[in-house]
């Protein structure tokens, strides 16, 4: 027990690691929040600006455009018929407007400078206008007696779709993945403590470790105590991070706080054991090991969507195995399952795999460290 408290004190003095473990994720979370805290990447339907050339206009079309609505109180188009075709062309070339409409020789022309959602909505309306006109003309020539009925039917537009809310939350914001990946990264940064653990136990790593090695304390006991001290500290940091994100920055999480905390607990174990595993595999100075652990942790977090969230989806669908062996992905995914699916089974599967991975790391570390005796270092 004394070893545990002494170790905790040692770790608290390690400013660099404290920074990586606790301050860095919080800084980054703040940056995330500043960058896109209240953002969604989906464009929401809103009134579209539409320009019709004043010298090439068609009154009935403009009237129709003014009448369409998104819902009861919002029109679909904000129609501007005040500028001439030449003026609009200049605006278009200067990228001031996205497109304009003019009618020449009974033909509706929509002139645009790029493809886009607004353009698609406008064009789709123009198409529909043309198509209905065509239908009416056609009925008028082939079945003029039915024209009145057809017009009534056309006027009586119905909706054939119904939005459903089943299985998962459709309003889920995918940007939240960034925050989940951040928690995963914070857990992965527990690996620095893992490196420290190896550094201070393996005799060829530091003078301190050499001294520790000649004490009669069993190595396994040392490893466990050092590990527990690191776990205490890092887990504490992670809980602070989760609470900070959830309550201060109001990031959307699942409501089940206990399970989120459990994730970060298992994640912390995964991170520390991962770090010590890498540290026993790589030979060289502790700085070199830290550098490598840093870049690998960052890379694994990248694969789980920390920098570009499409990457996570890409990996999940093209190289799914990678999602199952990458601790950071497992963490991000378990938080995602909780948030989006409310699915406990998927959540626990991810966490169980991570636990198994951690055990593999522990066994690996112990096998490499066990029985290392040094005649001289």
């Amino acid at each position: 027990m004394r070893i545990y408290f002494t170790r905790l004190k040692c770790l608290l003095r390690d400013k660099g690691n404290l920074f990586w473990a606790i301050i860095f994720p919080i800084c980054l979370g703040t940056f995330f929040y500043l960058g896109f805290g209240r953002l969604t990447m989906d464009s929401m339907i809103d009134t579209v600006d539409a320009y019709v050339a004043s010298d090439y206009t068609l009154d009935i079309l403009v009237k129709e455009m003014k009448e369409v609505k998104i819902n009861n109180d919002k029109p679909l188009f904000n129609v501007d018929v005040s500028k001439s075709k030449d003026e609009l062309e200049q605006l278009l070339l200067d990228n001031k407007i996205k497109g304009y409409i003019y009618i020449e020789n009974d033909e509706i022309v929509y002139r645009v400078n790029s493809s886009g959602l607004e353009q698609t909505i406008t064009k789709s309306f123009l198409d529909q206008y043309l198509q209905i006109t065509t239908l009416i003309i056609k009925v008028n020539t082939t079945n003029p007696d039915k024209l009145l009925d057809v017009l009534t039917d056309l006027g009586n537009q119905q909706s054939y779709v119904k939005e459903i809310l089943a299985g998962s939350n459709p309003k889920a914001n995918r940007l939240n993945i960034y925050f989940y990946a951040l928690i995963a990264m914070a857990c992965m940064y527990g690996s620095f403590w893992g490196v420290g653990l190896v550094r201070d136990i393996e005799a060829d790593n530091s003078p301190l470790a050499a001294r520790v090695n000649i004490t009669p304390t069993h190595k396994f006991k040392l490893i466990i105590m050092y590990f527990l001290a690191a776990l205490t500290l890092h887990f504490f940091g992670n809980v602070v991070l989760v609470l900070y994100l959830k309550y201060l920055l109001q990031v959307e999480f699942s409501n089940n706080l206990a399970l989120i905390i459990l994730t970060s607990f298992v994640g912390t174990i995964g991170g520390i054991t991962f770090g010590s595993f890498i540290a026993v595999l790589v030979t060289g100075s502790p700085e070199k090991k830290e550098g490598i652990v840093n870049v690998i942790s960052l890379f694994l977090s990248f694969l789980s969507g920390l920098m570009v969230l499409e990457v996570k989806y890409f990996i999940d669908h093209n190289i799914p195995i990678l999602g199952y062996i990458n601790p950071a992905s497992l963490l991000t995914d378990s938080l995602y399952s909780l948030y989006y699916y409310n699915s406990i089974s998927r959540y626990f599967t991810r966490l169980a795999i991570l636990a198994v991975l951690s055990i593999v790391f522990i066994i690996g570390t112990y096998i490499k460290m066990r029985g290392n005796r040094y005649d001289s270092v």
Binding site: F31, I45, S124, V150, K162, P170, R174, V311
Partner: protein, 380 residues
């Protein structure tokens, strides 16, 4: 020359770690590039990505699918995985035609296709319009017994479309190259701050600095040579990235825009070098420099529009972001990617962004020289 040689000696000594860094960041860049979808070149309607599950299987639903084929992009996704796909917007609409749909529809009863969409999104609106347009036409045809083969008749009518024209300067598929270079902002920042940081810190230990001070070389000259070495090194890194972009996007990269973007990139790299140099002159320890480099590179990438496009971002945050060189780099890139004409008048906003970066560079260099001199004097 001695300083110059020393610089490369340090690099050689740390080559392994640097190569790992470079390798991983290149991998990151390639993976990111691959995960993005490519767009097409001419005007095209933006099509909604739909996963449709037909549980009714009648001639009407076949017709619906046949019709939709022209207006949406069908995604064939396993029903179990479709929620995942929806979350990441691989599909934007999940549509399920329920059993008995056709019977009810033909009897004029109230009936609907169940869709899962983001409520009130543009894509939801578009999809609803597309479906309603067709089914309303079918209803009109059926109710009035206009023709027997309503489907081909309706398709005939739907061929009537407004014509779309574009200014002569054609649109090009530049989105992906544009994204690549925006992303380079992060890679350059992260690589330079970590690698350069660890090289320069080596020279800063008190003993080495004292020894350098009694040398013949003046402090200013030493700093300038180091700055030059760093610039060479940074430009070298940048060329690797540029080369990568030429390999990845050989179809679309040969474009006048690329030239301007590369100029922008070069200016940006130099600005980042001087910024890193400034950070190094402020702090002594390897860990602090590494930490600050990491926070700044990743953090600024999020608020200046590297990862999330500037147009989506909060205006207040963008004001803050202006203090970072990446903001101006991205701003210029976004602008260059969008314009269709290239003359001084049109490109002026891009040139202004170049200028801001250059001014930042000068400020950082002056500041680091001043600080370095101060520290040297403080030691005496």
């Amino acid at each position: 020359m001695i300083v110059f040689k020393l610089y490369w000696k340090i690099i050689k000594k740390n080559a392994f770690v640097f190569v790992v860094y470079l390798g991983i960041f290149l991998l990151v860049t390639i993976l990111t590039a691959q995960s993005l979808t490519r767009n097409n070149t001419k005007y095209e309607d933006i099509k909604v990505r739909v996963a449709l599950y037909d549980e009714d299987n009648t001639s009407l639903t076949e017709n619906i699918k046949d019709y939709l084929y022209d207006y949406v992009v069908f995604k064939d996704i396993d029903r179990n995985k479709v929620d995942d796909a929806f979350f990441y917007r691989e599909v934007e609409v999940i549509a399920i035609i329920p059993p008995g749909f056709t019977d009810k529809f033909l009897n004029n009863e109230e009936v609907s296709i169940n869709i899962k969409v983001l409520p009130e999104s543009t894509k939801a609106f578009t999809f609803e319009q597309i479906i309603n347009k067709y089914l309303n036409l079918v209803r009109v045809y059926q109710n009035n017994n206009l023709v027997s083969d309503y489907h081909s008749e309706i398709k005939e009518i739907l061929k009537q479309e407004a014509s779309v024209t574009l200014p002569e300067t054609t649109l090009e598929n530049y989105t992906i190259v544009h994204f690549f270079y925006n992303y380079v902002a992060y890679v350059v920042f992260a690589l330079i701050s970590t690698i350069m940081g660890s090289i320069m810190v080596t020279l800063k230990s008190t003993d080495i600095r004292r020894r350098n001070n009694i040398g013949r070389l003046s402090n200013r000259k030493l700093n300038l040579v180091l700055l030059l070495c760093n610039t060479l090194f940074g430009v070298g890194l940048l060329s690797v990235l540029i080369l990568l972009s030429f390999i990845l996007y050989k179809d679309s990269i040969f474009n006048i825009k690329t030239l301007y973007i590369i100029i922008n990139c070069l200016i940006y790299t130099i600005t980042i070098i001087s910024l890193t140099y400034f950070i190094i002159s402020l702090f002594e320890s390897r860990q602090t420099v590494g930490a600050i480099g990491n926070v700044l590179s990743l953090g600024s990438a999020f608020i200046t529009g590297v990862f999330i496009p500037q147009e989506f971002m909060n205006k207040g945050i963008l004001k803050l972001a202006q203090f970072f060189p990446n903001f101006w780099y991205i701003k210029a890139n976004d602008y260059i990617a969008e314009v269709t004409k290239f003359n001084f008048r049109v490109l002026q906003p891009a040139f202004e962004a170049f200028l801001v970066q250059i001014i930042m560079t000068v400020v950082f260099i002056i500041l680091s020289l001043v600080i370095s001199k101060r520290k040297q004097l403080a030691e005496l």
